[in-house]
Symmetry: D2
Amino acid sequence: MFELDPHSSYMMPAHFGSRPLSPKASGWYRDVTSMTVAFLTDRERLAAYLPEPWEVAEDAVVTVTYACNRDVDWLAGHGYNLVAVSAAAVFKGERETLVGSYCLVMWENLTDPILTGRELQGIPKIYADIQDHSVIAAAWHTNASHFGHKILDMNINNLREPTAEETALAEKASAGRDNPMAWRYFPATGGFGQGLSAPTTFPSENVISQAWVGDGRVDWQQLTWEQNPTQFHIVNALAEFPVLAWLPALVAKGSTNLLVPDRLPREIR
Amino acid sequence: MFELDPHSSYMMPAHFGSRPLSPKASGWYRDVTSMTVAFLTDRERLAAYLPEPWEVAEDAVVTVTYACNRDVDWLAGHGYNLVAVSAAAVFKGERETLVGSYCLVMWENLTDPILTGRELQGIPKIYADIQDHSVIAAAWHTNASHFGHKILDMNINNLREPTAEETALAEKASAGRDNPMAWRYFPATGGFGQGLSAPTTFPSENVISQAWVGDGRVDWQQLTWEQNPTQFHIVNALAEFPVLAWLPALVAKGSTNLLVPDRLPREIR
Amino acid sequence: MFELDPHSSYMMPAHFGSRPLSPKASGWYRDVTSMTVAFLTDRERLAAYLPEPWEVAEDAVVTVTYACNRDVDWLAGHGYNLVAVSAAAVFKGERETLVGSYCLVMWENLTDPILTGRELQGIPKIYADIQDHSVIAAAWHTNASHFGHKILDMNINNLREPTAEETALAEKASAGRDNPMAWRYFPATGGFGQGLSAPTTFPSENVISQAWVGDGRVDWQQLTWEQNPTQFHIVNALAEFPVLAWLPALVAKGSTNLLVPDRLPREIR
Amino acid sequence: MFELDPHSSYMMPAHFGSRPLSPKASGWYRDVTSMTVAFLTDRERLAAYLPEPWEVAEDAVVTVTYACNRDVDWLAGHGYNLVAVSAAAVFKGERETLVGSYCLVMWENLTDPILTGRELQGIPKIYADIQDHSVIAAAWHTNASHFGHKILDMNINNLREPTAEETALAEKASAGRDNPMAWRYFPATGGFGQGLSAPTTFPSENVISQAWVGDGRVDWQQLTWEQNPTQFHIVNALAEFPVLAWLPALVAKGSTNLLVPDRLPREIR
């Protein structure tokens, strides 16, 4: 008979034992290359997607981040790509007020971190084929698709060293990233009614070794149920956000730690 | 502000609305080709993986099933492959006794059904690259791997029309499959402690149009954390089950309905 | 020292020996599902892509065929998908006149048959990610892409049993397919100047077990060098063919033999 | 009617025009990470795979090189992985004597460079799924497989800065790599008899920005026709080379230029 050890961490299938640990594992993503494109959008339109007690932040900014994660310790040095979309938001809970970003959706091209992200932190991760970024004539590009139908194209051109002002902006944005938040939700068995529902935060520590600033764009497709039956409504919602202004885009290389001591993923209230 | 409709079914990200529906969607998997290999194993060894109140069934049978699912209605006609491992088991709950199979693990090569399976029914689905079956000289083969490291090979040879006796055996096995069961478990935020935990059953309706019986084998690899950091403990546990006798293997073509009216996925007690 | 056996067939790397043979191998593709969409186009525009001594056939028809090939004997029962584009054409050689189809391009999602097709028969095969066809509400769909950028979408709707007239048309088309032709061309080492150049034909034997007729469409993308640096010029050329009329589209299941005795691939003059 | 421009470079399909050029294209692979493992083997055994007029070099060394190629200019910044196996060899032609390496086989995970490599330079490239290298606890790993069946594992451990002596050895090896050679062979149409046959060399320029030395190993699988019908004979031949001694293994980062002015790919005599 299998019994849970109350001091261990389990995911399905739980009966084979707790999540594998290795002395070699850690929270470090040792080789991370990222492209970040952000834009100002309509405040009301964005607010429609934020559940209580989140509110749109002072600036109604949507940020789209591609990351090429390599040398990931908990994956024994394997890696994966992601495209995350988040809204600048403030969590106004009963006990805490947190300024940061609310994760609208995160596509990843590997199922393992999708499962841990959803089940441990409540990050709304779903699958897409995400191309390794291509770099040609100083222009960076990537795209994501599912079932052969493209979701988005992401481009950054005209890269240059950041000015002092831009570095300050990037640091401000990065500070906001210190409070990434999400809504962990599982339905009751069968899908109807609520099983678990809680706001969460999952801080990370980012070390930037190189960074450039440029002009970025994200181009979304409009999709039908026939083309992407599980995600078309998400893609279409994102495609409809008005772009009032593109903000400076960022390309960066560095590393990330997802298990920062004293700042582990937790529920917020 | 986003609000949940209490009459709808949601999965993360929930704030884009309830799970997409289409009048074209249903529970039908219209084109299913399967290979089933089963063996008798040691009763005590198998029992070690069953949580209360499941017990090993009269015969300690482990069944490995490959399915090539095509024309899947809820995926808008797309498909995927799976390899499922289950134990013949009896659920002896406070209110119900169910004879059927307990799902030990289910590998699939598409993330979408992995997420719905885990979150709606509690099926312990995880990812693997699963080759489309190959057929050469009347021998059927498939294999599964992850990060380039093979998990298992599955072969069925010497296919022939089933005898009346074998058809009876297959029908008996199929009857057992009428109560597929699993343990739906989600940890608390962060991974430690229990969030949701409940036994479930997810009946299906199987229509077989063609079937053959043959000699089957499953060969498991032994893996290290470095090779498959998220699943090696599962694969190694399965590789260590003693095979006391191989049962007749089955190749079948047909269709499957996962949403049988009056027999929807539910918790059992 | 390695030496060629003059009676064997070699491909690079040749020094490991001749192409592997197995008593289980043959020319049969035992499980083939195909979608065929054809249209009338502008005669002059089509003629611009035909080298001497090919001419556009009586009707300037371009045919786009998707095939899902499974249980392929020479691949030990593995399979692959293809999308072929051909022009109805007449070969008017010095010695032979052949009415059939001239292969403009053939995308496949497996490198092995791309290499044999190019090097043994001169079929202009190149790579694409080609989705397994999806079938929903009696509509068939597939698409092809490369580097994440879509090449084409292919759809067939309103499927019905063929009328006697349509069966006759299909048989006529199939007869035309009996003389599939291509231009086998290899440059000199380094790429400039001619190495080998010859017209070829590669007959096949097609057994149709089921067929339906419907309304089909192919939608091409316009691509840039940055999106698909090796194929954009091919895709753009095909996208620019005017569609004067869509012909009845075909869905078929059956099998194909690529090694028909007495009708093996050969050069034509 | 399509006509070849005698001053352009064509590959099939030739009738869509010459190979696409872009002012952004060049011979540079701007981001190359490589793992190199070499061993001494039995001289006679190795000689059996070298056609005339190649002979095994002074030391009977087989070198296995993994390269993760990114930011490849001619692929518009896309990339691919390769695993190459070569023999230290001397070409003793009628006019030239070249000390360098003879390419036994090169696996790549992208069809586009496989086609150009085979058809323009005669490099015996074939396809495999090649994992991006994983790095954990200073150990580097990759593997290659096809049809789900592994071909080889490659590991380098105990990495350290190279000593002066090792740097000298590496430079000597790199100097040898300056004359990479291959046997360009195409059969006659249909596969039997010779179409084109010529020895070639394809020099490259390698810029190393970082390098480490360590202990490396390559482990080959033994495969059947059923598992890998197009390559099993190659893999089995390589698996049977005796390893008399492993040489120091190398991990390197840098860039590579495949189009070195005045040293373009050419036939040798």
